[in-house]
């Protein structure tokens, strides 16, 4: 199933990140093509979140370059806000805006940033809510939602901007176990629709099922990269073997 999508959607070259003296990422290279569903796994503190947050510059990298749709977004002169509109992000803690209802959460960015009319933005938001089965909660406030509902709203809020890539940082880690499934279902649907995704997670079963590529991060770099069957079925790197034996 090799489709030629042209040049990579995201190209990471020699990416490094230091917090003061602490080297968290070093010399990372990665190409992400359109439609890729890249899962990043690895032990706690290995730099997974930092890597993801560097991709949309929530964290400023200290070395290397990131090209997104051909533009070097690590260039300090670039208007990163414009590029971020095309990169959706979903956080572990949902980060819905508590002073707005669900619909308002979803239409704020499309209206203010893409100059959509309220009726157009609302129509699109309702269609998205329909898709994740939450149309009846359109006028609920975040505090009235369960964790699983909050995270599904956070996903469609990001989707409302029609991004070209979605970044997920442990989207199910803050959820009660019985709510994990409903969020994974939404992500599975997205992957099926060939949304480009970069997902940091501890859900190995889900990674195995949905990923097109799985990356193993340790000590600030990717030590192994493979399609999921190989990654989980026939791991090469010793550290990965040790990691998998602990988490599987």
């Amino acid at each position: 199933m090799s489709v030629d999508y042209g040049s990579p959607l995201i190209q990471v070259k020699g990416l490094g990140k230091q917090f003061g003296d602490l080297k968290v990422l070093e010399g990372i290279n990665l190409d992400i093509d359109k439609g890729d569903v890249v899962f990043v796994v690895g032990p706690s503190g290995s730099g997974k979140s930092t890597f993801l947050r560097c991709l949309n510059r929530l964290e400023e990298s200290t070395a290397g370059h990131i090209y997104f749709e051909g533009a070097d977004i690590t260039d300090p002169k670039i208007n990163i806000d414009l590029h971020r509109q095309k990169m959706g992000m979903v956080f572990q803690q949902f980060n819905l805006f508590p002073h707005m209802d669900v619909l308002k959460n979803m239409i704020l960015a499309p209206m203010k940033l893409q100059k959509k009319s309220q009726s157009e933005a609302e129509k699109e938001a309702m269609a998205l809510l329909e898709r994740v089965g939450l149309a009846d909660r359109a006028h609920a406030y975040p505090s009235q939602l369960s964790g699983g509902q909050k995270q599904r709203i956070a996903i469609v809020r990001a989707l409302a901007m029609k991004p070209d890539v979605m970044l997920f940082d442990e989207p199910t880690s803050a959820l009660d176990p019985e709510m994990v499934g409903e969020v994974l279902n939404v992500m599975r649907d997205l992957a099926r629709e060939r949304m480009t995704m970069v997902v940091v997670t501890h859900e190995m079963g889900f990674a195995r099922e949905v990923a097109t590529r799985v990356m193993f991060m340790e000590g600030g770099n990717f030590l192994e990269e493979a399609p999921p069957e190989e990654f989980f079925g026939n791991p090469q790197n010793e550290r990965l073997k040790a990691f998998l034996s602990k988490v599987l």
């Binding site: 949309n56 929530l58 806000d81 414009l82 971020r84 509109q85 990169m87 959706g88 992000m89 956080f91 803690q93 980060n95 819905l96 805006f97 508590p98 002073h99 704020l108 960015a109 203010k112 940033l113 406030y141 505090s143 009235q144 809020r157 990001a158 901007m161």
Partner: protein, 226 residues
């Protein structure tokens, strides 16, 4: 008793010193609080921008000096300096001087109220805004400020109440406020008890009234969160 009331309030329409004074007190307090909110808002934005991004270093330094000086000196001294020194040579309404002085003073306290309100908003809110593509100012305006403002409304109400009482030192520059009104009556009737107790009761009534309004507001805000 009724004779005291007649002498202090009815005779020569002396009650007007109280009502006119009350009007001045409320006027000065209201406009000073508005100036304080404007100054406080700007300073809080500068200070939290500096804290978050390291930008606006020079402005941040100026703000810090302002905060230190204003909060480190008595409000009465500030008032007298502004009236006798800064506006000494020019003829200017005392009400205006009081509004400016108390506004500048209040701004320093409101700034810290706002700043703590901004800082109390979870960093994740900021990141969610930025990740959608909002720039720093838009994120502050649409996402952080509305939440911060809601959080600090009760504290702003309390600032209004303390300012209401503080303006009584305006009588040092002969501002015709509520306190001065009572004092003028005292000097006419040589009865200190009745007019001063009346003034005290009016202040107390106002403070209780505004505290009650703040409580209602707080309850409303809490309900809308749940």
């Amino acid at each position: 008793m009724s004779q005291g009331i007649y002498l202090n309030f009815i005779k020569d329409d002396r009650w007007k010193y109280i009502t006119d004074g009350l009007k001045v007190t409320l006027e000065v307090t209201l406009f000073a609080v508005l100036i304080g909110i404007a100054i406080g808002f700007l300073i809080a934005v500068v200070r939290s921008t500096y804290d978050k991004t390291g930008k606006l270093k020079l402005l941040n330094g100026i703000c810090k000096i302002y905060l230190t000086v204003i909060r480190g000196t008595p409000v009465l001294v500030q008032l007298m300096i502004i009236y006798f020194v800064i506006f000494g040579p020019v003829k200017i309404s005392k009400v205006l001087v009081a509004v400016i002085s108390f506004g500048i003073n209040s701004g320093a306290y409101v700034a810290e109220i706002f700043r703590s309100g901004i800082m109390s908003i979870d960093q994740g809110q900021f990141e969610a805004g930025r990740s959608l593509g909002f720039n720093y100012v838009q994120t502050m305006w649409y996402i952080i400020m509305p939440q911060a403002f809601k959080n600090v409304l009760p504290a702003l109400g309390n600032e209004f109440i303390s300012l209401l009482k503080e303006t009584s030192v305006g009588s040092y520059i002969a501002l015709q406020d509520l306190t001065k009104g009572g004092d003028i009556i005292r000097s006419r009737t040589y009865d200190a008890f009745t007019p001063l107790i009346a003034v005290a009761l009016i202040y107390l009534g106002l403070v209780l009234l505004f505290s009650w309004l703040i409580q209602i507001l707080e309850r409303r805000l809490r309900q809308s969160e749940r």
